[in-house]
Amino acid sequence: MGKTLVEKIWDAHVVKRQEGFPDILYIDTHLIHEVTSPQAFDGLRKRGLPVFRPNQTVATADHNVPTLNQHLPIQEELSRYQVDMLTKNCKEFGIELYGLGHPYQGIVHVIGPELGITQPGKTMVCGDSHTSTHGAFGAIAFGIGTSQVEQVFATQCLLQQKPKTMKIEVNGELAKGVGAKDIVLYIISKTTAAGGTGYFVEFAGSAIRSLSMEGRMTVCNMSIEMGARGGLIAPDQTTFDYVHGREFAPKGEDWDKALAYWQTLYSDEDAQFDAVLKFDAADIQPMITYGTNPGMGIGISEAIPATVDQPESERPSYKKALDYMGFRDNETLLGHPVDYVFIGSCTNSRIEDLRAVASFVQGKKKADNVEVWIVPGSKQVEAQAKEEGIDKIFEEAGFMLREPGCSACLGMNEDKIPAGKYCVSTSNRNFEGRQGPNARTMLASPLTAAAAAVSGKIVDVRELLLEEYDVV
């Protein structure tokens, strides 16, 4: 019987398989950041251990950093201490750090791919659940806890049960104005926020295949939001073209060798998945969330499902979510006023996201009632945006282009949405208080967010899209 892509990569990284034990899985690349690493470094010190393979470890500062005035010392004391601690730890243990001020600094899941660190066939981990992003390249990539960060530091391995596999196929053509973010929000609205738990998901089908690498990253990024350990997409020419020539991509003969291996990375025809789901791209419209988990999403023109239509045991939690959001059963969100628009996060802060927003808002102005924050995923994305003049378009529209970091996705720095305010956000989580205590988050695509920014309310971007805007 053939193997799934996950099985191929997994089996190639098993250092030891022993009956009754999880596999000892070799980790090719370990990405770290300031928030989930300090206790792991402390653990190493207590055990008197070095980092086993420091040259397979890459660090950046992203979760805690301010997105204004990054050239100045961090104002907030605890954040500054945590970022300083990362610098000190990386120095002590010999780890490459792309910290504040470095031209490669950025959100850990943006810089890995753009530097060519992320490659097909690799195993990659990070103390961050959105590590699944790197699966877009046909890698096994997943988030881990801090005890596991310490494990990887100490051994370059992890103890892991081989996960079950799920295939999610999306076939057909996407409508104009519908993109990768809408695909994944649609899938999660069907699977629920727990539907993928225990699985590694392979995304396949013509609609997935037609996505750019950045679109694929958006889809894989949110596989954790259906509970999946990770998501991945078989590498193809789109993948190889993206990786080729990047800073840490293989070069010369190494490239040829790597490419020959990468071309074997697909699920065999007769491979068996533990679960298979199929969706039709034509059924997907621009999506928006109305509740407090990413599974609570609807097509932009649809009504919020009624509480009575939920399973009885789940009604109290469902009602709690609607009350938190200030929404009612059967309400549609079209026309609902918006206070903030956040375009950023490891889900949607790459150059294509910024280009899509810029191409939509060019010549328009933001609505008076909305504050718009655009936070690029990395210094390189920021530089590229400036080179293309995108920063000017944003400035003219009244959007604020800030400096890279996780920012208002989780509000660890100053970028918090005030209590009770509505934010259309291109990030990945609409949990209670995620963007700030009592903030109300509606997840959507960059285009839907841009449309909300110029309209001051929730609108169907398809109705605003004129023929001249060739954006998806």
Partner: protein
């Protein structure tokens, strides 16, 4: 890691589904660089209002309920991979979390910190809630060796699953690093043959 022993305790019931790790410990409290003290901010925004005053309607502020066992609705611990959620639960004084469904990363993090996550069927979870809401002094007994959780008042018992390796880690207080490090030569040999 502290060894896990048999536990009989009262229960703190939290019948809410999809409790994510941002609720367990909001991101703004993740700035500490040690593992201690997170219990103070466990369920911070459900426990305290914006002025830091306890919200009286939240179960953890209700002196009627206490204990070392937290019982919660399905899909507990979803969202962020922050191990701070497991640290906060342990630091507050919970040794066991019972739900009908756990998110993967949280489950692993809990096990790595000596907190036992027990998955029970929906019906058993409902029974626990019924019993504790009828009598807040009701107790559960968790026997890791026998892999059972028992509602003492009714005698209802459920045999839960746990990975045998993880079970022995909890009982003996071992962690994964000890195990993997004992295979260092195998790891180096693997690196050589690639």
């Amino acid at each position: 890691m502290k060894k896990f022993e048999k536990l009989t305790s009262r229960i703190v019931p939290l019948p809410i589904e999809n409790i994510d790790t941002d609720q367990i410990i909001p991101a703004r409290f993740l700035k500490a660089t040690t593992r201690e003290g997170f219990g103070d901010n466990l369920f911070r925004d459900w426990r305290y209002d914006s002025n830091g005053q306890p919200k009286t309607d939240f179960v953890m502020n209700n002196p009627t309920y206490s204990g070392k066992i937290l019982v919660a609705g399905k899909n507990f611990g979803c969202g962020s991979s922050r191990e701070h959620a497991a640290w906060a639960i342990q630091d507050y004084g919970f040794n066991v979390v019972i739900s009908s469904f756990f998110a993967d990363i949280f489950k692993g993090n809990a096990l790595n910190n000596g907190v036992l996550p027990i998955t029970v069927p929906d019906e058993f979870l409902e029974k626990i809630f019924d019993v504790v809401f009828a009598d807040p002094n009701a107790e559960l007994t968790v026997d890791l060796e026998a892999q059972t959780v028992t509602i003492n008042a009714t005698g209802d018992s459920f045999e839960f699953e746990i990975n045998p390796y993880k079970k022995s880690c909890l009982i003996n207080g071992y962690d994964d690093i000890d195990y993997i490090l004992s295979h260092k030569e195998v790891i180096e040999a693997y690196e050589q043959q690639r």
